[in-house]
Amino acid sequence: MPRSVQPPAPSSSDLLQGTLDLLILKTLALEPMHGWGVALRIQQVSKDALQIGQGSLYPALHRLEYRGWIVSEWASSENNRRAKFYSLTAVGRKQLDTELANWDRMAEAIALVLGRREATL
């Protein structure tokens, strides 16, 4: 993972409360992934703008698992190492939809407040 030249990225603690959960759910929606993969994927997709602090990634993964939104199983990684893969459950998928809808509502609301968009009504 290249990180030699890199603007200071916002750490996860700067992320909006609950956003990390949303990002993880969205990332896992594509395919089952291990923790390292999730971190990498988010960083890549966000073009390095979001760098997930590993310190908060694993507690988040365990929290989501305990809530029943994701499940984990041990499997072989790309380089044939044993790794713990997380995948979205049906409940998790529903939760993702809910959170996405919330996110949209929130984004729209913030845009309205900031005057970036006319009220659509």
Binding site: M1, P2, S4, H34, G35, W36, A39, G53, Q54, G55, S56, Y58, P59, L61, H62, R63, E65, Y66, R67, G68, W74, S77, N79, R81, R82, A83, K84, V91, K94
Partner: protein, 894 residues
Amino acid sequence: MKLRELLTKLRFLFARKRASDLRDLDEELRFHVEQSVQAYVDEGIAAKEARRRALIDFGGVTRTREAAYEQWPGWWMETVLQDVRYALRGFRRNPVFTVTVIVTLALGIGATTAVFSVVDRILFRSLPYAHDDRIVSIGLSQSLEKQEFMLGGFFYEWRDNQKPFEAMASQSTGPTSCVLAESIPTQLNCISAQAGFLPMLGILPVLGRNFLPEEDRPNGPRVALITYGLWKSHYGLDPRILNRLITVDGSPMRVVGVLPKEFELPTLQAADVIMPLALVEAEKQRTQNGGIGQPMRAFARLKPRVSITQAKAEMEPLFIHTQETFIPAEVRKDFHLSIRSLRDRQTEDVQLVAWVLLGSVLAVLLIACANVASLMMARGAARERELAVRSALGASRGRLIRQTLTEAFLLSMVGATAGLALAQGLLMVFIAMAPTSVPFLDKAHLDLRTAGFTVLLALVSGVFFGLIPALQKPRSVALSARMTHSGRHAFLRLGMVVGQIAISMILLSGAALLLRSFQKMETQNLGVQTRGVMTARISLPGVRTEPIAGLVSKKGQTQKDIFLQVEAAVRRLPGVGAVGWSDSFPPGGGWQNSRMYSDFAVVGKSRSSERSGGLVRLRGVTPDYFRALNIPIVRGGGFTEEERGSSELFMVLSRLLASRLFPGEDPIGRRIGMGSDGTTYTVVGVAENVRNGGLSEQDIPEAYWLRRNVAEDWGVPVPVMVFDTVLAPATVSPWVRSQIAHLEPMAPIEIETLNERVSKLADRPRFETALLGFFALTGLSMAVIGLYGVTSFLATQRTQEIGVRMALGANRADILRLIVHEGARLLLLGAAIGVSASLALTQLLKSLLFDIGPRDPATLGAVTLLLAVVALAATLIPARSAMQTDPMEALRCE
């Protein structure tokens, strides 16, 4: 979704695969780091540097591991269990410490719980009435009777014109004994109350109903309420008791209701049956003429948000108005309006005793906690290195504090459990030695409330001594092998020892003062012989209800006949000396048997103008009374047997009364008029003073009138018998009993020695003294143990220094001085604080003390000396072992 969540939780809780979960977590994190390392290596960075960077990127693997772990439900249970296991292992390794802590706590918590369950009812617990905080006792107070009472005329006028109360109702002055006719007649206590009495208190019968107003009038239907206790003991809780006719004192009455189990009279008197008071409304008119009115006890419920002070201010004009109507001007000054909370009425001076006991037992608890905290700190110092190691290994402060708190809680909970058992035992002792004059004591027991109090105490003490050693951050210095015990908590520990000494000094002073006062009370000269003197009280059943002289019993005999027959029968017994009658026994006597000094009018002298000349105790006695009690007649001849047959009235004065009525004159043969009907008594003797104001009160002048052999002299006050005997009470009692039973088979008899009676009067002070003494000694021993602990701790710390000193030529005496000096400094400071605090605090005991000042220098001096000797002895033990230090050994241990 909820179900799913629940199932997951359950799976996590019960899967019992914590260890493998943790291994999984570790592996997961390791995988992550290795991927990260691989990424750097792929960028061409050397393996070692790559690992370094990966770890920096990750930041605190342990921290993440813990954070992830803490996402799991019930994770804390695991750590708590861990802490508990760890603590238990520690306790097992150090049993002396553990047992000392638990015993100390058990003593502190046990004593506090026992005392709390006693004083709870006196000071805090609500009374068993609705709106109990608004119930007041209302009435007149007067020098003869401190407990407020009410008179008929006052009651109606106040009830009809008052504003501050929602309700006002009265009961008769006290229960009278009555006989319930069953297959075996039972002696009960009956009392009368108004129909509005129970509603005013907010009490509903558990069965049936209260009196109706139309039942609460003279010649109304005879109805009764019975207590739950009587319902249970006599009628087996039979619901058909309602409307049943029971026969009380020979007349039938209908049971209309049963009182609740927890019901008690506001006066706390025992009663089994309540009947309507049936006041005559015309009483008002009658009292105007008679001037006194029917006495009763009145209670009222304040309107919401009306204070007692307000109520008193509002009632004052009404009181003055009524007083002007009913009380003759010359004695008005002696009557006061009294309104006070029911709790004050019930507990009176016991409240002070209760506060003193609670205060002293809390002081003991404080000493116990200080000792335990001190022990924990000593242990903490020894464990500092261990804590520092754990801290360096990444355990958070919170984690370490949690560990210490777990230990403290475990100890305090075990201590509390042991304390609860101890409290139960102590309570049984308290009740066994309980004087009847401490209200509620016999009912004290451990219940949820007191158990809750214990748990709270345990928690508070747990936090208190658990937190102190945990508060300071473990220092990395402690990791160094050369670490020596510094005095990091030393100041706190020394302070606690000083505090302990001061507190136990206060406790000891209080206990010693009570003890001295009690001794003085016990050994004071009563003026009568109590050894070998017996007393007997006979209740004549046939004439009980209206004990008016001359009333005829079933056998056609008057009371006088029966009493004289009893006297003759007892006289005939072998070994019995003088047999006399009185109506009460010294010391004491009661206000019913007293008259105002101003009632005594010496014939030929102008009547005393002193309206508040105090009380004169009056006793109706027979000639042998003085002989039986060995009261010397200092002037004149006293009563003679011949005078008993006389139609004249005779009187013997106490020396005190004689000197007041006849200063510098000879009273023999003078005549004294009593009351308004012009009866006059001839003075035939002066008897030596006798302590008759009770054990602890001022002496009261006394007048004896002769009970002659005429019917009207043998009514109220009902006579009691006193006789002296050379035989053992156990021998005489059955004889007397059988003699009386022979004459009146149904008459209940109480036989007691005068010694027993007198000793009962000292019950309260004995109880107070014993309790406070017990607490003081407990406190003292703990404080001394604390002092010993600190001194020996300091001495061990200085082992090396002592070794050096000895190597340089210090002799044993120098070492002794060195160690004792340390302890003595603490002792001196503690004692100084203790003495000054005692001087201030023992002032509170003033009203409990007899014939001794609250700052009695001899007592305080003796206490200080005792404390000093015991405490110095405690410092000598470590000093002795310090003296035996082998200098070589001490230096080598470095």
